[in-house]
């Protein structure tokens, strides 16, 4: 299997098999909170893809060149949180200044992502995941790609959820089940459906 094949496996794993929301249960807060409307779900998804890719790159560099040489691997969580929060703030400022249109569609979701566990999750998973040979860990490109595909997986699920919830608004749901209860049941059914991808042999 060439490198392209490996990337394909990584994409399938991040998007379907080890989906961040539905099988790792990370980033549930925006999954339930921002999934009421399709266009805001799309905006949130794009912001998450962007931040996850960037965070994967930066945290990889920080870990490899700053933490590991001094034997400070145990500090990765705190330094990753610090990095991600600062990064998101910085990106928000840059976007607000340079691209007001992008800021309007994306900017409101950026502060939400600052403390999103899915972003921290992808940074930490990148440090422990093995490549397909089972010996070496992810290199820089692998980490960035994994961050990107994880973000795509998050977006796919978030938009699927939003699409279903938009239709649910018009359906005849029993009064006691309206709103959050039916959304939680829906989330459970979706998680069960994604559980089926576990059987994929890649």
């Amino acid at each position: 299997m060439g490198y392209l094949g490996e990337i394909f496996v990584m994409a399938m794993t991040a998007i379907f098999i080890q989906n961040f929301v539905l099988s790792r249960f990370l980033g549930l807060c925006p999954y339930l909170g921002v999934s009421k409307k399709l266009d805001s779900a799309f905006g949130m998804g794009m912001a998450v893809i962007f931040v996850m890719t960037l965070a994967s790159a930066i945290t990889f560099l920080i870990r490899k060149y700053l933490l590991l040489p001094y034997g400070l691997g145990y500090l990765q969580t705190i330094s990753f949180i610090l990095t991600i929060a600062a990064l998101v703030q910085f990106v928000e400022m840059v976007i607000q200044k340079n691209s007001p249109a992008l800021y309007k569609s994306l900017g409101v979701y950026l502060p939400l992502i600052t403390t999103n566990c899915a972003v921290l999750g992808v940074a930490i998973l990148n440090t422990s995941q093995m490549r397909s040979d089972g010996i070496t860990t992810y290199n820089f490109l692998d980490s960035v790609l994994n961050g990107f595909f994880s973000g795509v997986g998050f977006t796919v699920v978030l938009m699927a959820m939003a699409g279903i919830r938009e239709r649910l608004e018009y359906s005849d749901v029993p009064k006691a089940m309206k709103g959050m209860p039916i959304a939680l049941i829906l989330a459970g059914i979706m998680a069960l459906a994604f559980y089926g991808f576990m059987g994929f042999k890649l």
């Binding site: 700053l66 400070l72 500090l75 610090l82 910085f90």
Partner: protein, 341 residues
């Protein structure tokens, strides 16, 4: 011995120092970058938005039709929204916003909520059955058309009191709801909360209200009403109204407040006392100051009850028995020759 201690000290310094320096350095670095970025990428936010947010009451009631006070402030500055939409803020908010925006303050007449029903109290309601359930009006009216005999009247579980953000509705010793004219901001929350749609917003300068919402025929409405003041749809008020401001629809009198002149004749005429007149017994009569009158006949033309008579260029007189004290003539007289006594 001495050497090992020194060595231990150095390794300990390293174990403690390295993480402190690295994490602290990272934090410092990010802090400096963000501080510089906040200057370099500073975006001017319209200061008027913040000023308007400060001028608004901050109740986030949504009476303006926009999501919250911040949304309304943004809409005023950027979307050219009307500045007089804030009901809770009243005239003070409008004038402040007008100053900030350099716009003319076109204040709406302040409105207040009026409950169009006189029953709903402990003694003033005829009960059909004893309701034992969730103590909200919304729940009570759903069971067999409500526990009170009148299917249009107040059930008295105070949904309106619960929903009022401004404590403007209180419950008195008889279990009746009283609206505080000073505190009411006409936000409309109670109007929406009342499952029988008994509450309505009326301009604060109007003093005559139909205190019934029953659309039943008189013969049904009368025994059902617990307070003995039902509107029976007889139409006497409509006939007595000098400006045709009252209409009878579905056995119920409705006042058209764009026409009403506050004369209170309908309240006096109503056989069931279903019309409330806040100024009853306090109305003054018009009096023409003879020295100032030039006989222009304007007052006679404007009088809705033809209580003023007189020839052109002659002194006019007011017939006290006809005058209803609406004060329309006072405002119209070019010589300010009419006073209310």
């Amino acid at each position: 011995m001495v050497n090992t201690i020194i060595l231990m000290d150095i390794s300990m310094l390293q174990t403690i120092g390295a993480p402190v320096v690295i994490i602290g350095g990272l934090g410092l670095l990010f802090g400096i970058i963000l501080a510089i970025a906040s200057k370099v990428f500073h975006v001017q936010i319209d200061p008027r938005v913040e000023q308007i947010i400060a001028a608004l009451p901050g109740a986030n009631c949504g009476a303006c039709g926009l999501p919250g006070c911040a949304g309304y402030a943004d809409a005023i500055v950027h979307a050219d929204a009307d500045i007089n939409k804030c009901a809770p803020g009243g005239t003070t908010a409008v004038t402040t916003i007008a100053q900030i925006m350099g716009k003319e303050a076109s204040t709406q007449t302040r409105k207040i909520a009026v409950i169009h029903c006189t029953s709903g109290g402990k003694q003033s309601t005829n009960w059909k059955y004893a309701y034992q359930g969730i103590e909200t009006c919304k729940s009570a009216v759903n069971i067999a058309d409500g526990p009170n005999s009148c299917s249009y009247g107040c059930v008295g579980y105070n949904d309106c009191v619960a929903v009022c953000l401004f404590d403007a509705i209180t419950v008195d010793e008889y279990g009746m709801r009283c609206i505080d004219l000073e505190k009411c901001t006409a936000c409309g929350a109670c109007v929406k909360a009342c499952p029988r749609a008994l509450i309505d917003l009326v301009a604060v300068d109007k003093v005559v209200y139909i205190k019934c919402s029953s659309k039943d025929k008189g013969a049904i409405a009368k025994p059902n009403c617990g307070s003995a003041h039902p509107c029976i749809g007889c139409g006497i008020c409509a006939k007595k109204c000098p400006v045709d401001a009252i209409m009878i629809e579905n056995n119920l009198a409705i006042i058209d407040y764009s026409k009403c002149i506050n004369c209170g004749r309908c309240a006096t005429a109503c056989p069931t006392k279903a019309i409330q007149d806040l100024l009853v017994g306090m109305r003054k009569k018009a009096h023409i100051i003879s020295e100032a009158c030039i006989g222009c006949t304007i007052c006679a033309k404007v009088c809705p009850v033809t209580a003023i008579s007189g020839e052109l260029k002659q002194l006019h007189t007011v017939n006290d028995s006809l005058c209803v004290g609406c004060e329309l003539c006072v405002g119209k007289c070019p010589k300010h020759a009419i006073e209310m006594i």
